[in-house]
Amino acid sequence: MAPPAAAADKREGKRPMPPEGDPAAAAAAGETTEQEAQAAGGAEAGDDLVLVADCGAEVRLTRSAARMSTTILHMMDDCAEGRVPVAGVHAGVLRLVAAYCERHAPHYDPEASAARLRDPFPPFSIDFRPTAHAIRPVTDPGPDPHGLEAWDEKFIADLPDNSALFAVILAANYLGIEDLLDLGCTAVADKMRGKAPEEVRVALDIENDYTPEQEAEVRRENAWAFED
């Protein structure tokens, strides 16, 4: 029986929790509690979930945080002793994903999330130089009351390489965590925006598998995009 989210938050004081600002420490703390859990002989029923990676490594996840994953949400009531097997996701990536969910869970609003993804326009901001004639000033980034945007920025910046970023995206896709998927895809899009193909290849470690003739053909078909 899942405890209400507020009770879960209060209980967090009893267990060593990583400082909210550090995803790497959260991953390390996840490791510590795994060892404690193994020593205590498995997860307590009706308490946190334990995600089990292919290699057997375990990652603890509160039920409140697990709500963010539609995949886990549908699986968790059927899993014995709250142990949820997660196939095809590396243990390290699973820890990152769990850290993300723990950080975001207290402020998770599934309806706002779905509404944002339904509205397709604009997917990016339109550059605007303010002039004396404009009625409204340039759109400001907006308030970040829970520090989530700053945390997300650090989460992405702390990923060691593109490979890790892609792994997080694949895991978020498999686990059905829309907000994390959006964050990851936006991070990749940010690395591409405004860049020429050669620069995109460098930024994302991509090999050019076109012949020179094929590439010239594609550039011709999209000629307007290559004019300045």
Binding site: I126, I135, D161, N162, M192, R193, D205, N222, W224
Partner: protein, 283 residues
């Protein structure tokens, strides 16, 4: 977590996720992405990406618009809407998409505007254009008038949300200079949701009179790629309400001649745009 060889890790992303990434960039970026690699080509040309760049709902169109050979893909449809505006059902407005952002752009035809004395044939005539990129049947041709004023409006819901737009009056002059269009300057204003911004504009470049009486620098027209001129009337940030755009005479008593008005165009402000070629007049 070991880094297992960094090259081409992006190939692990299925095409639908690559499309999700590209949909978060711009139309220009998505076209350039096609040249990155073969995996990118399939994703960059996919319907998932290009349907995100265009509005899902178009306003009611005039008969026969979007007929002819249908573009083969969503990308083709997007580019078609950027290149050739479509006429709306009332015949008074046309719509296109801004190629850089996918934002909706509109052209209010002269008939959609309120032009002071526009119905008095002594002052204004309505003539047919031999060919018009915007496919309006008529434009307003000025014979002469003392009071030059034009007003247009559009519901902000028709425009793309959270975007900054600018309005331009699209016109031609039939005389090289003079005839009241270069001096004294007019006042252009845009009102949305109760707040108004105004500034000084001049329909014809005038080297010696570039300021209005208060000392403000006037805005001058630019030449468009379709051969017409356009003069910016102001900018606004789109939110709820109705947008009112007007060009007003500030000083009666000067006769104006030699103006042909096609309409008022409303499109996103800033960055590149496919309409303006050379700038004139020191801007």
């Amino acid at each position: 977590m070991e880094a297992a060889g960094t090259c081409c890790e992006i190939a692990r992303l299925p095409e639908e996720l690559l499309s999700a990434v590209l949909a978060l960039t711009t139309p220009r970026d998505a076209c350039r992405a096609a040249a990155v690699s073969r995996d990118f080509l399939a994703a960059a040309d996919s319907g998932a990406v290009w349907s995100r760049f265009q509005p899902h709902d178009l306003p009611p169109l005039a008969d026969g618009e979007l007929s002819g050979p249908a573009p083969p893909s969503t990308k083709g449809k997007f580019l078609r809407l950027c290149d050739r505006p479509v006429l709306l059902a009332d015949g008074l407005m046309s719509m296109s998409l801004d190629r850089e952002t996918g934002a909706r752009c509109y052209m209010l035809s002269a008939r959609a505007l309120h032009i002071s004395w526009g119905d008095t044939p002594e002052y204004w005539r309505w003539i047919r254009l031999p060919e018009s990129r915007f496919r309006f049947t008529e434009v307003a041709k000025l014979r002469y008038v003392w009071w030059l004023e034009a007003r247009g409006r559009i519901r902000s819901k028709m425009l793309s949300q959270d975007s900054t737009y600018a309005a331009y009056i699209v016109f031609k002059t039939t005389h090289r200079h003079g005839h009241g269009l270069d001096y004294p300057p007019h006042e252009a204003s845009i009102t949305i949701a109760g707040s108004t911004s105004t500034h000084t504009v001049c329909l014809q470049y005038n080297r010696s009179h570039r300021h209005d009486f208060a000392g403000n620098l006037a805005l001058f027209p630019n030449k468009r790629t379709d051969g017409w001129m356009e003069l910016e009337m102001g900018q606004f940030y789109n939110k709820d309400g109705e947008v009112h755009i007007s060009l007003m005479d500030t000083k009666r008593g000067t006769v104006k001649r030699g103006l042909i008005v096609q309409g008022i165009e409303i499109r996103p402000k800033g960055g590149l745009n496919q309409h303006t070629s050379a700038k004139i007049g020191g801007q």
